[in-house]
Amino acid sequence: MANQQDIQFHYDVDNDFFKLFLDQKYKVYSCAVWDNVTTLEEAQFNKLKRIADFAHIKPGQHILDIGCGWGGMLEYCLKERSVKSACGLTLSDAQYQAIYKKCHPHLTVHLQSWRDFKSASFDAIISIGAMEHFVTLQDRKLNKHIDIYRDFFRKCFELSKEQAYLGLQTIIALKKPDSLSSLKDVHYLLNHVFPGSALPEMQDLRIAAENMYELIELRTLKLDYAQTLIEWRKRLNQNKEYVIDCYGKELWKHYNKYFSAAERSFAHGYTALAQMSFKKTI
């Protein structure tokens, strides 16, 4: 599993930096859903709605978001779904501080891994863009990855009520890089963007969830993520001078390269986004 240092390497640049390119309302740092909309704000709202639908989130529920980012989904569930409480887990100190400062009476956040988290039963669980960090390249090499994903599903199973749903979104690996440029993109993303992280394959998740969760619905997207990355890069570059002044030219170049490499990876089908609705088998 990517450790706290790995997570902080990517997510603790500065909360204000991410605000320069993320959607203005929910600050969601994962693929948006561009069905019949034109702005990033609308597309991220679509995504939050879909995953909340996949988790069957309803008014009055107690919900858990594993890998909650800056709390966008937690806020969406409180505002739009009228949940009774929303609890988030993150390994990023910057994200933890940002959510903690909101001081919402029904919102809690823990700077903690799901592995160490113990709490009462939740009505629904969500995890968006966290699963990509659960397994390291070394874990995959040693064939430990299925066990780690199984541990995650088991933890969700233990933390939720009977028949509860799990709304899950993760990037998945579809095919191996087959050109030099795609190899270089993968190399950059793994070494300089998300160190300590390796992507799951869809089959890994099916096997890991066996006997605990039934996969009720699955959507796979490619161009939606490419479009999201294009929009992030556009917004970043609209603030180019400010970014360079505040954070340096290297960071600006790094994010341009990262967004471009990831966009190509989705557009050419090396990776895809999986959105899943899982239901507990008992």
């Binding site: 995959r140 090499k141 890089p177 087959d178 050109s179 030099l180 270089k184 793994l190």
Partner: protein, 80 residues
């Protein structure tokens, strides 16, 4: 011939280093994945390391590598 031998040895050295193997395990016919234990990301590292070893950026092209010989052929093709 000598140049090719040199390339071959250098390719094998890089593969051995990347996969943490002894040089005599890296035979021309050895399958990178099934016999030498490389995963797809090791392959990425091997190709990237070849560019470094030979001090040039390779031309973007399709890569279809299964054996050590495939890597040698790929590097020879890129260099020549």
């Amino acid at each position: 011939m000598n140049i090719n031998m040199n390339i071959e040895e250098r390719v094998k050295n890089v593969i051995a280093y990347q996969l943490n193997l002894s040089k005599n395990e890296v035979t021309n016919s050895a399958l990178l994945t099934q016999e030498l234990g490389a995963d797809s990301l090791d392959t990425v590292e091997i190709i990237m390391a070849m560019e470094e070893e030979f001090g040039r950026e390779f031309i973007d092209d399709q890569i279809n590598i299964s054996t050590v010989q495939d890597v040698i052929d790929y590097v020879n093709c890129q260099i020549n």
